[in-house]
């Protein structure tokens, strides 16, 4: 007779890698969708804005490119992830993970990181299209990676929260698209040209700090001060949203 449970549990890191692999398997069926959706709209907007402005200055060009890079992240991290999480809750997919000896935060982190990785091809396309159409020199530094990571985790947190709060995938898709539009407008339009209420709204969106940090990085002017302000804000949003998602997605009734 087996009296005691002597079963092991995986280490957090090894659980995370297994969970990430499980999430990335989604790309088997949907990789075309991820690439097309995350690159077509931001690239299209960048090209459209270029066509409508005869001589965009370098500052505006970089604002447009940075904004569209963040939009690319927002499409997968907010719109697509919100629908996915709503679907997971509706189908009780979290129950599967909840009955395994893995830390909840490893599950959530794997989902968020997977959706961030799905955005990478779109980001590369937007940077290439932006550099070509606006004729600006973009400084591609290693700092871009943590900036995108921070922006991505924070935006994924918003997407996941929308998915948790929505009763079904359709509502999650709708709210995800609305928030994504906010990210688009508030990210591309410089804050000096926005009315005051919208400036306040942009202050509470992590994408604002992501765009600003990227803007400085792409021009090679990311000072320690910029990192301290925008980087810390992204870290703050990432941590708060991450734990909110972790807590709410594992709510038990």
């Amino acid at each position: 007779m087996r009296l005691e449970g002597t079963l092991r549990a995986p280490g957090t890191l090894s659980a995370f890698w297994v969970l990430l692999g499980m999430q990335l398997a989604r790309a088997r069926r949907s990789w075309r969708q991820y690439i097309i959706v995350s690159s077509a709209m931001p690239s299209g907007i960048a090209i459209l804005l270029r066509a409508m402005t005869s001589h965009p200055g370098e500052a505006l060009a970089l604002q447009i490119i940075s904004g569209n890079v963040v939009l690319s992240v927002a499409i997968t991290a907010i719109a697509m992830l919100a629908q996915q999480v709503a679907w997971m809750r509706q189908n009780r997919t979290f129950d599967y993970y909840h009955t395994l000896p893995v830390p909840n935060f490893a599950v959530i982190l794997a989902i968020l990181v997977a959706y961030l990785l799905f955005a990478l091809p779109g980001i590369a396309v937007v940077l290439t299209v932006g550099a070509l159409f606006y004729g600006v020199h973009l400084v591609i530094s290693p700092g871009i990676l943590p900036a995108i990571l921070g922006t991505g985790v924070a935006l994924s947190g918003i997407g996941a929260l929308l998915g948790i709060a929505s009763r079904d995938g359709e509502l999650a898709g709708l709210t995800g698209n609305l928030v994504m539009m906010a990210v688009l407008f508030l990210g591309i339009i410089p804050s000096g040209r926005l009315p005051l209420p919208l400036v306040a709204l942009s202050d509470i969106l992590p994408s604002t700090y992501g765009v600003r940090l990227l803007l400085h990085l792409l021009t090679g002017q990311a000072s320690p001060y910029v990192w301290l302000v925008d980087g810390l804000m992204l870290l703050f949003f990432s941590v708060v949203l991450f734990f909110a998602v972790e807590r709410l997605s594992y709510r038990v009734g």
Binding site: R2, G5, P10, M22, R29, T93
Partner: protein, 310 residues
């Protein structure tokens, strides 16, 4: 030693939906325990609380003497769970899903792969192991779920409708697997509608209705409660348009097959009817047996329905 102790368990949804209404019972370590009952009886709610997926409104569930808390990692280590809903790992191949689950239970990769291969062979899915879970049939999907519940050999298994959607061969395979796990000392809690098949493996049974346990005991003890009755199974010949009224009052269990549970004192009368030349000419097969667990289940279910009637 007790695997599970359930004390004064109540689970209410909203203000008035009592999914579990004062449950009190325990399950011994190494026991195979069946939970039977009609849809909506509160069986799945009960097992969801036993794995920590939802919390009781009041009362307590203990696993190996310790109370279960929300997000209890001890429960996750000890219990392999097959949910009633299909496994949602649609984008993984069947073998990958089982291996990944094994690794999430703490097995190293080679160990998880070895166990997954053995399980897939045992469950009859070896030739489908490279198909995406989302492309498998409903029954195959269920079998992958079963393999994910078993990998890592958890000492407690809670299986919610394990043979749903399975063909007879796969069902037999699953029951055989469970009998092997039983002989190894695994505690198994089965929620099922398949009363006849469950009777092969269960040591004790609880019959639930409207959130309460209406009967609990070994199949033998429960059947003893119907000891004054016999079950008569009658199969009619091809071409016989319909059963006679007295037979039609029984339960139709096949196209031309009826089952009647009668008091032993009425057996003589039944034989006289059957001996009638006209009636006997219509009969293809006749069996007399002691009541099965299914008869017990139906008897209790019938009582509950009568109580419900206005």
């Amino acid at each position: 030693m007790l695997a599970f102790e359930i004390r004064h368990l109540h689970k209410t949804y909203g203000h008035d939906v009592r999914a579990n209404d004062g449950l009190d019972f325990s399950i011994e370590t190494g026991e195979v325990f069946g939970i039977l009952g009609p849809n909506g009886a509160g069986k799945s709610t009960l097992v969801q609380q036993m794995v920590g997926l939802c919390v009781p409104t009041s009362g307590e569930i203990r696993l190996q003497g310790q109370p279960i808390r929300p997000h209890d990692r001890r429960v996750r280590r000890l219990v392999g769970y097959l949910a009633q809903r299909p496994l949602a790992l649609y984008d993984l191949r069947a073998r990958e899903a089982v291996v990944a689950t094994g690794r999430l239970r703490g097995l190293g990769r080679p160990e998880a792969e070895r166990e997954a291969d053995a399980l897939l062979r045992e469950i009859g899915l070896k030739d489908r192991q490279d198909r995406l879970v989302g492309n498998l049939s409903g029954g195959e999907h269920r079998l992958v779920g079963m393999a994910t519940a078993l990998i890592g050999s958890p000492p407690v298994l809670i299986l919610d409708e394990p043979t749903n959607e399975l063909d007879p061969v796969a069902r037999r395979r699953v029951w055989d697997m469970l009998m092997r796990r039983r002989s190894e000392g695994t505690t198994i809690i089965l929620v099922t509608h398949n009363v006849l098949e469950a009777e092969r493996v269960v040591g004790r049974v609880a019959i639930m209705a409207r959130g309460r346990i209406v009967a609990i005991g070994t199949p033998g003890e429960l059947k003893e409660r119907l000891h004054a009755q016999v079950r008569l199974e009658v199969a009619l010949r091809d071409g016989v348009p319909q059963a006679e009224d007295w037979l039609g009052a029984g339960r139709q269990i096949g196209e031309r097959r009826w089952s009647l549970t009668l008091g032993r004192d009425r057996l003589g009368e039944a034989f006289r009817r059957l001996a009638d030349p006209e009636t006997s000419a219509e009969i293809d097969d006749l069996r007399i047996a002691s009541p099965s667990l299914e008869d017990v289940y139906l008897a209790y279910h019938g009582e509950e329905e009568r109580e419900d009637a206005p």
